[in-house]
Symmetry: C2
Subunit: 366 residues, 2 copies
Amino acid sequence: MTKSRVTVVDIARAAGVSKSTVSLVLQASPLVNEQTRARVNAAIRDLGYVYNRGAANLRQTASSKIVGIVVNDLTNSFFAELAVGMDIVMQSAGFVQFLANTGESLDRQREVIASMREHGISGLIISPARGTDASDFKPLIAAGVPVVIVVRNIAGAKVSSLLSDNYAGARAATEHLIALGHRRIAFLGGFSDTAVSADRIDGYRDALVAAGLSADAALVVNSAPSRAGGVAAIERAMLIADRPTAALCFNDAVAFGVCDGLRTRSLEPGRDFGVVGFDDVIEAQTAVPALTTVSVDPQGMGRRAAQMLLKQINSGRVEAEAQVASVRLVVRQSCGTGAGQWGGGASHDTVAKDTMGTDRRQHDRA
Amino acid sequence: MTKSRVTVVDIARAAGVSKSTVSLVLQASPLVNEQTRARVNAAIRDLGYVYNRGAANLRQTASSKIVGIVVNDLTNSFFAELAVGMDIVMQSAGFVQFLANTGESLDRQREVIASMREHGISGLIISPARGTDASDFKPLIAAGVPVVIVVRNIAGAKVSSLLSDNYAGARAATEHLIALGHRRIAFLGGFSDTAVSADRIDGYRDALVAAGLSADAALVVNSAPSRAGGVAAIERAMLIADRPTAALCFNDAVAFGVCDGLRTRSLEPGRDFGVVGFDDVIEAQTAVPALTTVSVDPQGMGRRAAQMLLKQINSGRVEAEAQVASVRLVVRQSCGTGAGQWGGGASHDTVAKDTMGTDRRQHDRA
DNA sequence: CAGGATTATTGGATCGTTCCAAATAAGTCA
DNA sequence: TGACTTATTTGGAACGATCCAATAATCCTG
């Protein structure tokens, strides 16, 4: 009942040519006569032929036109947007993508990468789970599969990476809060054992000391990098003896959670407490108050990562390249603009600072 | 330089057996001697062999262990969670998934499905883009590829579907608002030309007329089913002569937008205006005020859809089955619980009503 | 110990496509 | 007309794993 598939041979028979000719037509080769081409194409339509890429991929020259994408938490808008950005570029390049969510599980990550390799991915973009080791990429490198690490750095991994300028972003955001008059500024959310978190905390600390403020370790509160984590973090932050008056949050999800937590204590974010996020997910603009945040442009980052991977796939050379995406502070309403007690700010979506570290490149040999 | 791949023949040579034996080991066949198996496995490890599923899939008996997932808008938490639910089930079943985002584009949808077919998916789960026609699934059906339609119904499509009970959910939510004393209730967001929207509006209307209230067509405001759309919808709703005092929103994203829009007008959702969402995405619980919404459990729905598809793939029979997932109204804070002017409600995450239409099944012949 | 059952192993042939070398057809030139 | 292009077309032989039928090795059992 499930009829056996239609193959090039069937097409060849129907069009009265050889399978080789059909193959040439499929590849849009200029060698084939126009009438023959038309006849073959008609047969293809009539018989409902579907190209079997798996068969074609057997010959070791071909590219599978499949890439793998591995992320930690698709329910986080940041990763969802990142994935959408990649999807856009991959789709228009004629690639199709495996997408897997690890939920920070190293086991799942390992399994999923293995599975993708069996299916012959020609490249991989990964936001590695916490605890991923540089050696985990060895087999991929040995097999000549291009890899692009995004968002989180893995020290010592000899593969390409695209990271945002976390240090500069956090520093600019902290400086903004200081300029508004804040003296007790907390850093909320995230786990400080990750590279991303460490970089942001460094930027935050350096801004504080540069302004002659003390970097009180108690003001750094770890929590899950999620909305729920933000609620928990602000609760703990409010128990600190000398309360903070503002916070730089690990990401926008945490920032939204912090706003929620403030409201349950009848504090209005922006008026009674300054909140800055990180990422600039779409909701950041429409939320009330609109979130002041460090814009990372997740979708753009996804597109860029996809382009980096495609470049490597197409060039054939696997040449590690480290790119840093610049970020910019977008000032909105969540830190008290207008007539707040911390002085007047700009009015609407003002870009305060652009980190100029864009596109520093660093090449390793293949 | 990119060394040619390691194949079963290489393993065979290294282990001093034939390729057939290696194949048996790969399939964990009990026919092979323990010592031989050990020797082969050692060779597999030593040479860094990776199984080539593409080659195996050539023989028409095998299943590709790949499924396709097509959604409209991954940046919407509802779809992201849906995808995560599917991912969980597929991963543990040893499947790997193509994921593509259509952004409601029929062209992209067509291309992406074609591409997935060329790569030999053994099944497809799709939340069809607006305007998808039942005939679009003909080729898939003819080829014996199981399809599960989720979220949005396509009338006349002879494939399985998993939909939520939109009518019952909307009706229950509307009845809840009426019970709280509301008389002018709006329906905000979504496009009424989609089946989902139509069903929800039907439930909303029927609840109104059953309560002896007039169903004023002006109170139904279309908009994009997004946060931004919600902002736009509430703005238009506030221009209506006889203003509504509450709204049932097309989905949670719209509901959040409505809350945002209310706040910019200095109206506090829950106190000054009743808001009910639809979907129950994760943020619904942590948002302030916590959103009263119709819980669809998107992740659970994703899991269930994945199971439906796997069942069909494994059984071999392609038997269309229509399932309706029951929904329940989760009462939280966004419609004025406690001492609101519309009477006291329950306190915390109360389940008000469970639609009992679960798992009505309807079989078509294969 | 012949014959039968059991246990392990193994050559092809096969899946659907690509690609090379070679063949054929058609035209060109002297 | 024969040699020589140029334009089309075409049989195989891969690619890597599976699977069937057949073989080889071992163990019974009367």
